[in-house]
Subunit: 340 residues, 2 copies
């Protein structure tokens, strides 16, 4: 009380210090920082004034340890060449933070590393794991799930058949049918599908859907090419290797890409390597509607995922303690621009 001046070394100010300063018990101090706790406005104010003066903030490690809820989620990601990841991260970090969740960011270096990444997260006792990476196989997920290291394992922006994971994604099947119809209506007849890497657990149904739908409805089997990563530069190499030297009739009239990262790489090749015109000679579609897709340089026809809605749903899932099936598909939107 009497001008007892500690050198405000906030790193080690504890609730006890505040309690003494405010003339209440330690538990009242902690209660003041919990939104659910019952506390009188009088002591709340006393505590807050003292805390402010001493520079006290509660230690979430201890809170987490005692309550068995960490309010921490791990975000596992690996596909850093794909610009859409930046978009997803922006939404995830902003909205999760608004809802009081902190994020542990883990770079899953490669498929073999996924298990370690999961283990890493589990050591911090995260409440949930969000996968926005692509390199995971079922075995790893099964192991983690079986060990019940997390309450929830959420696969974001990708569908999963694993009944124990929660998948929040766009409706790829519907989307690709819409794209296929659009492409056909616009008069394209020789599509080539440019696909990304095949993963085990978390699938994109885009290639399968497009190919089957096109074959079923328009009678021909589209050519498909796969790229080992969602990397524009890599996509460019593959497309160059595939198309360079072909004469006009052997070229596709449109390249339907699994996402914008691939589409951007492919478009660069059409223009600068094949020296053809985009849309007139070879059209192109993407998926994701990354910011670049709207640039005057690309004007890419693509398909927008409702990322904000998906993340809002994600926080709803995180907050829920029910044990139901949380899987959900969202409807996206075709964005027609000049590339197709």
């Amino acid at each position: 009380m009497a001008g007892e001046k500690k050198p405000a070394f906030a790193g080690h100010v504890t609730a006890d210090d505040v309690a003494v300063a405010a003339g209440v018990s330690r538990w009242t101090v902690n209660r003041a920082f919990r939104k659910d706790a019952s506390i009188s406005t009088k002591s709340l104010e006393k505590v807050m004034v003292a805390a402010e003066r001493l520079g006290y903030v509660p230690d979430l490690r201890a809170a987490s340890l005692a309550s068995d809820r960490s309010n921490l989620v791990a975000l596992l990601i690996d596909d850093f060449a794909n610009p859409h990841k930046l978009v997803m991260m922006e939404h995830l970090t902003r909205i999760l933070r608004r809802e009081g969740w902190d994020i542990l960011l883990v770079n899953t270096l490669n498929r073999d590393d996924a298990g370690h990444a999961l283990l890493n997260a589990s050591q911090r006792r995260v409440d949930a794991v969000i996968l926005i990476g692509i390199q995971f196989d079922d075995e790893v997920l099964e192991t983690a799930l079986h060990a019940r290291r997390f309450r929830k394992l959420i696969i974001f922006a990708r569908t999963s058949r694993n009944p124990n994971t929660i998948s929040i994604a766009v409706d790829d099947v519907h989307a690709m049918k819409e794209i296929a119809n659009y492409v056909h209506e616009r008069g394209y007849r020789r599509p080539m599908f440019l696909a990304g890497p095949r993963t085990y657990s978390a699938h994109l149904l885009r290639k399968e859907t497009f190919v089957e739908y096109w074959r079923g409805h328009f009678g021909v089997e589209p050519e498909t090419v796969a790229v080992a990563a969602y990397d524009p530069a890599l996509a460019a190499d593959i497309v160059t290797d595939t198309l360079a030297g072909r004469n006009a009739e052997a070229l596709p009239d449109i390249i339907v890409c699994e996402n914008d990262a691939l589409a951007i790489g492919a478009m660069d090749v059409i223009r600068h390597k094949l020296r053809l015109r985009v849309s007139e000679d070879i059209a192109i579609t993407g998926f994701d509607d990354v910011p670049q897709a709207d640039s005057p340089n690309y004007r890419l026809t693509t398909y927008r995922q409702p990322i904000s809605d998906m993340v809002e749903y994600l926080v709803e899932v995180l907050g829920s303690s029910e044990d139901r099936d949380f899987d959900r598909l969202f409807q996206g939107k075709l964005i027609a621009r000049e590339s197709a």
Copy 2:
């Protein structure tokens, strides 16, 4: 011992359980998971076998609480439109993880939010904070530093004059002089400088250096234009507003950009809005050497920062307990491509 089967619910397997299973004490179990601890190979193995079987992993929250070292660093970021952020994050997440550091990712929504973001981090008792965002003002940093909420506050890829922060950055002054000389040597005489937002604490000395150097050495004051964010789309708007309608003599012959994000936006405008040729009509330089800069579409002359080296130095700083001046400038490299 005798086939006592718990339903391997790893979420609640504690060191005590493993101790019983392995026939040692709890402390021996914990020691087995610490690299510095003294333990016999025999008990190490016993513990590891038991831990593996039960699915035990140490609880880093508790370890952190007891040892006052969290092995956690906060990464504060805000500039999600800039593709270079993805590059930095990839390096940071990969190398920090390799060295045993976990990352708490915090999206600093805006300048007013920086204080909250810092507070957020401090509640998790992170060992250090790394800023790769741009919106911080001195007041906020001073408050955080004064409260000593973190052992280290590192400003990455940006220089700071604040003596209490650690700045790990590229030598902007040297870099811009090199760029200015290159530009002049290549015969450009009417440069325009396209700058990003001005921040308080963490400066980029690029604009100042370029403008002063050019004026001092070549006698004329270059025109400068500022963009409110490192966002290609925003840069495109500003450049369009600035240059559209000018006749040829009033146009710059080169646009020197503070970074690639701006350069990419500007280049799109030159081609698709002004309908001019890049390099022949208006040349352009960037900074960062983002992946896109190398694409056949841009072929941007730019300046590469040695991000890997910088992050390696960062982990060295994190690991050090000395109390010296850790500020360091790295030398980058001019990457000449076709855009200038």
